[in-house]
């Protein structure tokens, strides 16, 4: 097997029924419902090497989660070719399922009213993990994720962060070769988010597991993914290294300044494009290559109290790219 994941021209459509508002609409929908086709994925192709860590990024509804679900065999492709670890995911062969794992932020496979350890035992039986291997893996994961104290607490009494760590344990007990993570940091506080990222990074390095994760949180991507795939409205806009994405499509950077005096505000235009002006805050955008010069000029000629330089938010980059095309 030279590639862990192969996707060729994948298309996925959904059919939904629309309802009109109001009483008459309600009656109408009873008799003749209106159907609409949603084109969630409009033909995407990519492949992933074993051991790679790939991040899928895009706005809500872009098709990232749909892609992941198709790769794990949950959804039936409308057309196109999908292969994971040399299997057709849709067939959901047990040998295939024993090698992959799907973790979705805030969704549980843990039995709610019982301690997590019960779910682990159940998974041991389902995945047919040999006794010694199970004990070893469990010990390792529990230590790495620092959940030893909570093994016998009913899951519903755990905090979200603790629960996510239990979910990860349950998902990794059988050392899957491919890990699908859907919004793994959603709903977590900043500290828990960082811990989650550290763990994923560590796991990928240690065991060479292929990791595909989706997020609309920029920090996830910056921290984890060497390779990034941008999906918007069901199409791949970009597939490559993260640095390339930003430099390729974000031609500008943002300078935010706090001014102590109002003099000379009109001249701010000479430094760069004024995006927002609400004294004492001002937001400018300047060409990437000229950032340092612009910042220096600003500090020299204006009464600046505070100054930060930022990247354009990734969502803006994506929106921009989609509008402007890849010809830039």
């Amino acid at each position: 097997m030279d590639r862990a994941v192969i996707v060729d021209n994948l298309v996925k459509n959904f059919e939904i029924t629309e309802k009109e508002p109001g009483l008459s609409g309600a009656f109408k929908s009873l008799l003749s419902p209106k159907k609409k086709t949603v084109h969630a994925i409009r033909g995407i192709s990519f492949s992933v090497q074993p051991g790679e860590l790939v991040g899928f990024i895009g706005p809500n509804g872009a098709g990232k989660t749909t892609t992941l679900k198709t790769l794990s065999g949950l959804l039936y492709p409308t057309s196109g070719f999908v292969e994971v670890l040399d299997y057709d995911p849709w067939e959901r062969r047990p040998e295939f399922l024993k090698q992959i794992s799907l973790v979705m932020g805030q969704k549980n496979q843990l039995w709610w009213d019982l301690p997590a350890i019960e779910t682990f035992e159940l998974n041991k039986a389902i995945y047919e993990i040999p006794g010694r291997e199970y004990e070893a893996n469990l010990k390792e994961l529990v230590e790495l994720l620092e959940v030893e104290k909570f093994l016998n607490t009913p899951v519903r009494k755990l905090s979200l962060g603790q629960r996510m760590r239990m979910e990860l344990t349950a998902a990794l007990l059988y050392k899957p070769k491919v890990l699908f993570l859907d919004e793994p940091t959603i709903g977590l506080d900043l500290v828990a988010q960082q811990k989650m990222r550290d763990f994923i990074y560590d796991y990928n390095r240690r065991y060479g597991a292929t990791v595909l994760l989706t997020s609309h949180n920029m920090d996830d991507l910056v921290d984890l993914a060497r390779r990034v795939i941008v999906i918007d409205e069901g199409k791949i806009l970009f597939d490559g290294a993260l640095e390339e994405l930003v430099t390729k499509f974000a031609k500008e950077k943002i300078i935010k300044a706090t001014l102590s005096k109002e003099d000379g505000i009109a001249n701010l235009e000479t430094i760069g494009k004024v995006k927002r002006l609400a004294f004492p805050e001002v937001v400018l955008s300047v060409p990437r290559s000229a950032t340092a010069v612009a910042a220096a000029e600003l500090l020299q000629n204006f009464p600046v109290e505070d100054l930060t330089i930022e990247e354009i938010p990734i969502e803006d980059v994506i929106r921009k790219v989609f509008k402007g095309g890849l010809r830039k």
Binding site: K19, L23, A26, F27, S29, L30
Partner: protein, 267 residues
């Protein structure tokens, strides 16, 4: 008043939101009637049969009468109150300038209106197919009394549902199980949905008629049929009124206590 009309409309629409769902709900009602109808039709297959004062005509009229009365009385949304309490959604309503009781009562009426329309259609269709002997009441007094019993039945059922739904104030996990026990099992058996209460032997019948349940279905239908008149009618009406009063007082009492507990826990 305007706001209650809006609630009425939205509640009406919501039942349609799951259209297949609603159709199936009506189908279920029809099946329940069919069992009862055929059961009694077979019991009385010999046209000479007379049991407990009923002959074939009377019993089958009773069954068809149940269809309409059920739609009027037993269609209600107030069962959902228990999950409002158990899951803390009650808080949203307490914040609004709205009487919680009136809100749910409006929703109940909306549900009854919708179900009545469909029950009438089913009634017509089944009437044509099964061609039961049916008795049309013409006596004005009987009709008036019938109207009164329906109003009492609606109120009794509403108060009962609310009372059972209040249990989650103290035990949130008992929401559905309490309704199962009382609303589903006990009421199905003792309201007259399956059999007219007066086929029960003496002591059992007296006990049953002292409870509020027969006044939901059995009593209204019998009054319509003209089987209960004079002193029996007055007596029955008095018991129904008494139960309406008792349940209303009990509900207010329980509700006050419950709200205190609810707000203390701060769900």
């Amino acid at each position: 008043m305007q706001k209650y009309w809006s609630i009425f409309k939205i509640s009406f629409e919501q039942e349609f939101a799951y259209r297949l769902n609603f159709i199936l709900w009506r189908v279920r009602n029809v099946f329940q009637i069919l069992l009862t109808y055929f059961l009694w039709s077979t019991v009385f297959s010999n046209p000479q049969t007379e049991i407990f004062g009923y002959d074939r005509t009377k019993i089958l009229t009773y069954v068809f009468g149940i269809m309409i009365v059920r739609a009027l009385v037993l269609s209600a949304r107030a069962m959902d109150v228990s999950s409002d309490i158990a899951q803390g959604d009650l808080s949203n309503y307490l914040l609004k300038p709205l009487s919680y009781f009136k809100y749910w009562f409006t929703r109940d009426i909306s549900s009854k209106a919708l179900n009545l329309i469909f029950a009438a259609i089913e009634f017509a269709v089944l009437f044509v197919i099964l061609k039961p002997p049916f008795f049309l009441q013409t006596n004005a007094v009987a009709l008036l009394a019938f109207f009164v019993t329906i109003i009492l039945a609606v109120l009794i059922y509403f108060f009962l549902l609310f009372l059972i739904s209040s249990i989650p104030f103290w035990a949130p996990e008992l929401g559905w199980s309490s309704h199962f026990l009382v609303t589903v099992v006990i009421i199905e058996a003792l309201s007259g949905s399956l059999f007219p209460i007066n086929i029960l032997p003496g002591l059992l019948q007296s006990i049953a008629l002292a409870l509020p349940f027969p006044y939901l279905i059995y009593f209204p239908v019998e009054v319509y049929l003209g089987n209960i008149t004079g002193t029996a009618l007055i007596g029955g009406l008095m018991i129904a009124v008494a139960w309406t009063g008792v349940l209303w007082i009990a509900l207010n009492f329980v509700w006050q206590k419950g709200l205190k507990v609810y707000q203390a826990i701060g769900r």
